[in-house]
């Protein structure tokens, strides 16, 4: 009533996203959706509009424990009707809740404050950029699963209802972070927002009109809004009546298996999505169209392989790891294929093709991101990490540890009350009416204050850039793999992160974004193919990019380990491909400077055999300001030790 909300019907373009959200409105059991971002202002409009849509269908109904929360706990900025927005710099404290200092002091009894997850109960929880959620996405995932949030913090123990619908935006260029979250929401809109120039213009125009006169704008779309609302309401009413035949169920599971979808939760989501789509379209049973939608939003984004890949693998000489994988997966025999009609198969392939991320190289050349991200970094670093314990001396920029402060103050309360009563009776004879209320207050003095000590997950990010060019195939690729796996194991022991870049032919590929999972890295290393040119520059650019993102996420130290035979012959971009070797050399020199500026220490591991070496590896190391190791001479173990000892020392120049 107080403010107009941007109507869902007025969101231009973004058909995939709006479709997914409609499904979610019809079937809340889909739990949530992740949407490829289209710029945060637009995303926010979409999410708010979705909240307004749900609000229009039926006002949020709170579970009993939620309704006991006093309304003054909702900060207006966070709660807009049905949508609770989770700021990306939210700490665990804010997310899960804890001790409420103000009210505890007020009442003299420990009082709990609900975290954002509990506040989102019965509403929509919206996150602007899940890639930037630092380690807290696991909590959201767990709450989605259990519909409650368990608070065991700061002396408080509680279970709060946290039954919310999740809407999160993610940046496709940064890959799919928060895999736990991906698994627990039903719908994933992986395709980028396809918007024509008209759409863009329309977006701006509508936003402008809404700002000028929100109520008139809402009125303009009153008819469309009413139509959408009745569509959702009809869909909901129809949903329990939609039948799914056993064959359809088999078909869905069959497709999930053929796409290598992990876990059995996706089947259920796919079924719910298909059913919701049928209900939305006014059908009483699930048809091919509905299954296609389920594939698009549920199964394809979770695919780990293409159906056609299976045949390809069988004919190909597969690596042992691949073969082991295959054993656990049933082959997609021709008879099974019949279950998937042509249209659906096309949809599968199409959906997956759209998922292939944009070339990392071109993404890295866009500059606006770095300025935006840099600001975020500075604003949040002081209080990031986890509240580990409290200290009497405040670390810089620290926050008060409420629980510890109260505990420190507690033993003195009796005497402080007595003392203040005495003071008051001396200065004033009586204070009528209020002694009871003030004396119950907790009295805290400066020496009681305790501060939170945060612990950031530190550790080093190791970026392994592996030259997979044709010349490497000759030059001891196997040995490089051996050293690599050993390094990976060490990274595992030290709780470091690893990333894997391979470069060959024209480009470099980030095979593995920074992760702690050595298992995955090992599997990828085993399957590393070789052949083609040596685009060393591209690999360096990727590495610098990765290091920058890693720093944003709290891994400040990066170490680049370059496995190469040192003969770069492919430069950046087409313009350089025809130019002489010297130009590529210059390019690498410039990148070396960039490496230094980004404070990335680097190591070149030369894999070339001695007989043909003409010092190219050493020259490269000089250009990059890197340390140089010669692999064939030293065994894998000693290279590892040397690299490791190198990382702990400050970088020398």
């Amino acid at each position: 009533v107080t403010s107009a909300r941007y109507p869902f019907a007025a969101v231009p373009g973004r058909r995939a996203a709006t479709h997914a959200l409609m499904l979610l409105a019809v079937e809340p059991q889909l739990r949530g959706t992740l949407i490829a971002s289209a710029g945060s202002a637009e995303d926010r409009i979409l999410a708010r509009a979705f909240g307004a849509l749900l609000y229009g269908v039926a006002p949020p109904r709170f579970t009993s424990e939620r309704s006991q929360l006093r309304e003054d706990h909702f900060e207006a900025s966070e709660v807009d009707g049905a949508v609770v927005e989770l700021p990306v710099n939210a700490t665990e404290d804010r997310l899960l809740g804890g001790l409420d200092l103000e009210r505890t002091i007020e009442t003299g009894r420990p009082q709990i404050s609900a975290g954002l997850l509990a506040r989102a109960n019965g509403r929509v929880l919206y996150v602007d950029d899940i890639n930037l959620l630092n380690g807290i996405s696991a909590h959201i995932g767990l709450a989605l699963d259990s519909r409650v949030v368990r608070v065991e913090r700061e002396g408080m123990s509680a279970i709060h209802g946290a039954d919310f619908t999740f809407v999160g935006m993610f940046d496709r260029d940064e890959g799919c972070a928060a895999s736990l979250l991906r698994d627990r929401v039903g719908l994933i809109v992986d395709t980028p927002a396809e918007r024509s120039a008209d759409d863009r213009a329309e977006t701006v125009d509508r936003a402008f009109r809404f700002d000028r006169d929100p109520f008139a704008f809402v009125d303009d779309f009153a008819f469309e809004t009413a139509q959408l609302l009745s569509q959702v309401e009809d869909g909901r009413a129809r949903l329990p009546l939609v039948s799914v035949s056993l064959d359809r169920r088999r078909q869905i599971s069959q497709i999930a298996v053929s796409l290598g979808v992990e876990g059995n939760r996706a089947d259920l989501f796919a079924l719910k999505a298909a059913r919701a789509n049928a209900a939305l379209a006014g059908r009483d049973s699930v048809t091919d169209d509905d299954v296609v939608i389920a594939i698009q939003f549920v199964l394809a984004p979770r695919a780990t392989m293409l159906p056609s890949q299976v045949e390809h693998k069988q004919s190909d000489e597969a690596s042992p790891a691949d073969r082991a994988d295959e054993d656990s997966r049933p082959d997609l025999a021709d008879s099974d294929r019949d279950l998937i009609p042509g249209a659906i198969e096309d949809a599968v392939v199409e959906a997956i093709d759209a998922r292939v991320p944009r070339d990392l190289l071109s993404a890295s050349q866009g500059t606006p991101r770095s300025s935006r991200a840099g600001k975020r970094f500075k604003a949040t670093i002081a209080t990031r990490g986890r509240y580990v314990r409290s200290a009497t001396d405040p670390p810089r920029d620290s926050r008060v540890a409420v629980d510890a402060t109260l505990r420190a103050a507690a033993p003195f309360q009796f005497w402080r009350r007595v003392r203040s009563e005495l003071n008051r009776s001396q200065s004033q004879v009586t204070v009528p009416g209020e002694p009871g209320s003030t004396s119950r207050r907790v009295k805290i003095e400066p020496r009681d204050l305790r501060f939170k000590e945060f612990k950031r997950r530190s550790g080093i990010l190791f970026i392994f850039a592996v030259d997979a060019s044709g010349s490497m195939a000759l030059n001891r690729m196997a040995q490089a793999k051996g050293a690599l796996t050993r390094l990976l194991q060490q990274a595992y022991l030290h709780r470091d992160k690893v990333a894997l870049i391979s470069f060959r032919g024209e480009r470099s590929d980030v095979l593995l974004a920074p992760t702690r999972s050595v298992e995955m890295a090992k599997r990828l290393v085993d399957a590393l193919p070789a052949g083609g040119g040596t685009p060393l520059s591209a690999a360096l650019v990727s590495a610098i990019d990765l290091a920058r993102f890693a720093r944003l996420r709290g891994t400040p130290q990066t170490m680049l380990v370059l496995f190469t035979d040192g003969r770069a012959n492919v430069g950046l971009g087409d313009r350089h491909s025809t130019s002489a070797r010297a130009t590529i050399g210059e390019e690498i020199g410039r990148l070396g400077v960039l490496l230094g500026a980004a404070e990335i220490s680097s190591v070149v591991v030369d894999t070339k055999s001695r007989f043909v070496s003409s010092g190219e590896g050493e020259a490269l190391a000089r250009m990059l300001g890197a340390r140089y190791f010669y692999l064939p001479r030293s065994d894998a173990a000693s290279v590892c030790d040397a690299i490791r000892s190198n990382t702990r020392r400050p970088r020398e120049n």
């Binding site: 424990e65 505890t104 009082q111 065991e152 408080m156 992990e262 059995n264 033993p411 051996g482 992760t515």
Partner: protein
Amino acid sequence: MPRSKSNPDCARHSSKMPKETKSKKGGFVERPTSRSSSSRVVYPFTAIVGQDEMKLALVLSAIDPNIGGVIIMGHRGTGKSTGVRGLADLLPPVRKVKGCSYGCDPDRLNELCQDCVSRLSLDDRLPVERDSVPVVDLPLGATEDRVCGTLDIERALVEGVKAFEPGLLARANRGFLYIDEVNLLDDHLVDALLDAAASGRNVVEREGISITHPARFVLVGSGNPEEGELRPQLLDRFGLYTQITTITDIEDRVEIVQRRERFDDDPLAFQTGQAGEQGRLRRRITRARNLVTRVEIEHELLTLIAALCVQLRVDGHRGELTIARASRALAAFEGRETAKAADIERVAVMALRHRLRRDPLETVDSGARIQEELTELIQMLSTKSRLRVVK
């Protein structure tokens, strides 16, 4: 968010609150007792399709807590936490000292907490009650003070009393401590857990509180190895390691979805439908718990276990002990009083999978390696015993 009848689950949870809700803290704080985790209708254990290794591991650790807990690692959405949460319902009630915060066992006087000891010195009998086995959730975002316990703020503020407020470790005493996404647990919490798990006691020295109390619990963890790995010290604390993968059989998958839908539609009816199965399993576990201490394991089989561990170069003796205990529990579960080589065969992989030395270049699944060695040894054993019979 509108809640139509499509989500009875949520409504039920909220309606459960009142009894404990009116507790001392702030109106809506629930002070979970041991039963509270099952106050929501949980998906019945016996209705889980497939995943036999996980189910067996959980049942065995319910029969003999000394096995040392279970860790379940594998793909997302494969029923890991469903299995663990379903376990609570299968555990037979135990005898406890009435009013004890740690649920001390009145029959084990040497393991009593300080409170119970002083109560016993005043009165030579402790009051006893029958209560359920606690299955306590350790949430990822827990702080150390809530895990280990610390000064009770409320009593300190209101009464000026310095009292100890027991934490999750106290609550989990004689029960299960479950950590979902265990590989994401913060290192400082892992340290606290390791200390308690190793000694069976929790030592608290903080904020003017100095107390030691029993904290014997079965550690159960689950996670996805691709999210991050576990510290080796923590991994070693788990008795059994079960790997869980996505079920790829189409009919099974369809069945999983159908069951889940039926459960979501009407959890109570679904539970009732499974009551018979659940009851049977519960009785079987109870019987096995009574039988397990009497199960014999032949010397020859112990030698076999030792040989296996030597062959696989497993450090320490925890591997051997776990295999022996797990095979006894398995024998008891099947109602036998002697363990067989077949029992060992079924538990060895689970008991050793996480104890093999990690070879970084290894691509063969360690489970397969264990199985291979074991089959060889058993063949040797059977030929030997046949020779003896011939002699």
